[in-house]
Symmetry: C2
């Protein structure tokens, strides 16, 4: 017990996450412009309203989205779902994002507010049914419509739109709540004919200001030409392996939304699911989504560690994911990681109570569990359980070294198949309890 | 933010739980004797080995048990399951409990150790297949067989058995690990003919010493004459409404065991499921089990609050339970309770992501959520959500008063049926993180 206080204090040493994870430059897809401002909803003149618009009208843009499965869906989620259903995801040319108010649990009036915001933007861009909405912030409060509509008027009236790095970074900032850094990534990729396309991604979470809940928002924008149905397939696949494989505290919000726009501003043939390049694009987008999703975990409330839970060789992917998620959400495992305690018993315990679809994915006598160092130190792998048998001669000092890293991996090899799932989580710290035990302010 | 530190500190003020929850006297069923000692497995000469034996041989005793559904079942769980299967729960006359070592993840050798302990006791009481085992403590370590068998020899050789209050209380202490108080309750009940019977119950948890996990152990002993099959039905029903309705951190152990013995030392006709008194006995045992289970939550690690989550008027009991459990396990809800934050958004959010069997149990427009004071202050009920609509004029000072209680209720009325579930949990405190982030010591 004596050593604890000192360990827990050293675990709390904070990384300079802004310096580590916020880029200083980027590449951006053709044909998009963004703008943001402080509408006054948030205090302290902080950015809280942003718009991304497609200005390339050479062909119809495609959109796809994945929404929260929480039964209580916020108004912007319900509204955007309807727009996508009505348009089959074609011709979506704007996304409005706002922070400070989630427009959740606001009933029929909240839905009407959402409709008015979208109508205003549709009129300003001269289209119909072309605008999606994303909101995050306090729930149970209505949007301050005067501030939101006034802000939108200013963005268009004073033409604040631009496509430079600073504007994209400001957009990323405008959806932050208690995030400690904005989440923006971008990348180029090329397909078989050598043409280059660009991806930009923005996400936020998992922070909160009471009385509300963590909201995960993310969007990915590209100049690739792709059919909306293929885009939806691609996004759903990418989210399954990225945003659905992260957890800070296991609480699923009413507002979670990941959406993707593709305007086809690069003038190459339109891709669909039968295209030879579809698989390649999908895999690019999946990797990109993973990076974007990981940033959310890196900014997890109170987190001192970024932990990859890697469940390998499962009979089914779904079960690998369930096991990884169960480990990642275990308060006991997360507390042990925070305290840098090589407590493999808790990991095994969590594996054992995972609610699997197919119990053939799990065979006690085949399980291997290790800690993996992510720096260049050796031995990289420290085996804790081999074929179901606890290793009695574990090198405790090496365990302490690995657990003191701010980035580490828990490897679980089930040995029952060939499906893998990587899941990303953070530890449970005193700071988490302080943040979430706080009075609404 | 400023007020937080002070609130969180005042929340940490500890109750004198030993004075509040440990009885000074008790009533005990006829025909049972108990003994316990410090075998040396635990440090500091703490009690760590106990035996309960039935000495009433006028008729065969009945036994029933409910075990963890964790896939990795500890050796004592596997062993006891086999004994009950082989005997159909008839003629079980001893339970051996030990703390300090859970005999979990110990493979074939651990099972052999369990068998040796049971054989030793069976021989000492002159029976076969009559002994059940319960263990709690460190996992991945084998039982120190010399200390355990030596201890058992002493208990019988020096006839340490007795049926007085002190002996029962010592037995309750002998299964404690990081419990802050022993959990012992007893009660008398009578059936239609006026005959009196007695129930005694002991439980432990949810504490842990690394590297291990919380273990929940409990047993209930009575002098009622009842068929073992009826006893099993009764215990399963009672556990569904008691031990399966509590949660400290949502982690399910490898060792969880609740068992019940009934020796029929009161000389009345044997009860079975068709007896007119069966329902009455069952309801007595269920209420008794609830009290015993609640003590575990009251001793939850780091807990500053005892919270009843009462989900009423559900279309199905299972869904009421799932919703109650989801609220009770939400790290966000638990942190808010600790911080005394009237954060109903998090409660609604947890309801919304509960994984229900029948979504007709949930209708947003019918939900009512309230905080309920459990002292005599008024108004007793503070409504937060009425028919799905957040109450905008919530009396924040009354909310603070209710949330400052060490015992309070969250009431969720689903309005979709007539099934109710009460679930008991505690808050998530800094102390929880400290305890579970601690180095194994």
């Amino acid at each position: 017990m004596r050593a604890t206080k000192c360990i827990l204090q050293s675990a709390s040493k904070t990384l300079d996450k802004y310096a580590l994870f916020v880029p200083k430059t980027g590449v951006f897809p053709k044909g998009y412009e963004v703008a943001s401002l402080a509408s006054g909803v948030k205090k302290n003149n902080a950015l809280d309203l942003g718009i991304i618009r497609n200005v390339n009208k050479s062909r119809k843009s495609s959109a796809a989205a994945v929404f929260t499965t929480n039964r209580f869906k916020a108004a912007p989620v319900q509204f955007s779902r309807k727009v996508l259903d009505a348009t089959s995801g074609e011709g979506i040319d704007a996304i409005v994002v706002n922070s400070g108010c989630a427009n959740a649990v606001t009933g029929e009036l909240g839905l009407q507010d959402a409709g008015k915001v979208a109508t205003q933007v549709n009129e300003l861009i001269g289209e119909k049914n072309s605008t999606l909405l994303m909101s995050t912030g306090v729930i149970g409060q209505r949007l301050q419509m005067d501030k939101i509509t006034g802000g939108i008027q200013t963005l268009f009236g004073q033409n604040k739109f631009s496509s430079d790095f600073d504007s994209w970074l400001k957009l990323a900032k405008s959806i932050c709540t208690t995030d400690t850094f904005p989440k923006l990534i971008s990348a180029k990729f090329s397909l078989s004919d050598g043409t280059e396309y660009t991806l930009v991604g923005i996400s936020k979470g998992a922070g909160m200001i009471c009385p509300n809940m963590a909201t995960l928002l993310g969007f990915i924008v590209t100049d690739l030409p792709i059919k909306s149905s293929a885009l939806q397939t691609m996004l759903t696949g990418a989210v399954t392996r990225s945003f659905n494989c992260i957890s800070v505290d296991g609480d699923m919000s009413t507002n979670d939304t990941i959406c993707m726009l593709a305007n086809g501003a690069v003038d190459t043939p339109v891709i669909d699911e039968s295209s030879s390049d579809f698989k390649k694009v999908s895999s690019q987008v999946t990797e990109f989504s993973k990076q974007l999703a990981q940033l959310v975990v890196r900014d997890g409330e109170g987190a001192t560690k970024f932990v990859t839970v890697n469940v390998k060789n499962s009979a089914e992917f779904k079960d690998a994911r369930t096991i990884a998620e169960t480990i990642a959400n275990s308060m006991l495992v997360k507390s042990a990681l925070y305290g840098q305690d090589a407590n493999w018993g808790r990991i095994l315990c969590a594996i054992g109570y995972s609610k699997l679809g197919n119990y053939e994915s799990l065979d006690e006598s085949k399980i291997n569990v290790s800690f993996i160092a992510t720096d260049n130190s050796t031995p990289r792998e420290l085996k804790l359980i081999a074929n179901g048998v606890p290793q009695l001669d574990i090198d405790e000092s090496r365990a302490s070294e690995i657990l003191s890293l701010s980035d580490l991996e828990v490897l679980v090899d089930l040995g029952t198949g060939s499906e893998d799932c990587q899941f990303w989580t953070c530890d449970l710290s005193h700071e988490y309890v302080t943040i979430n035990g706080d009075y609404r302010s």
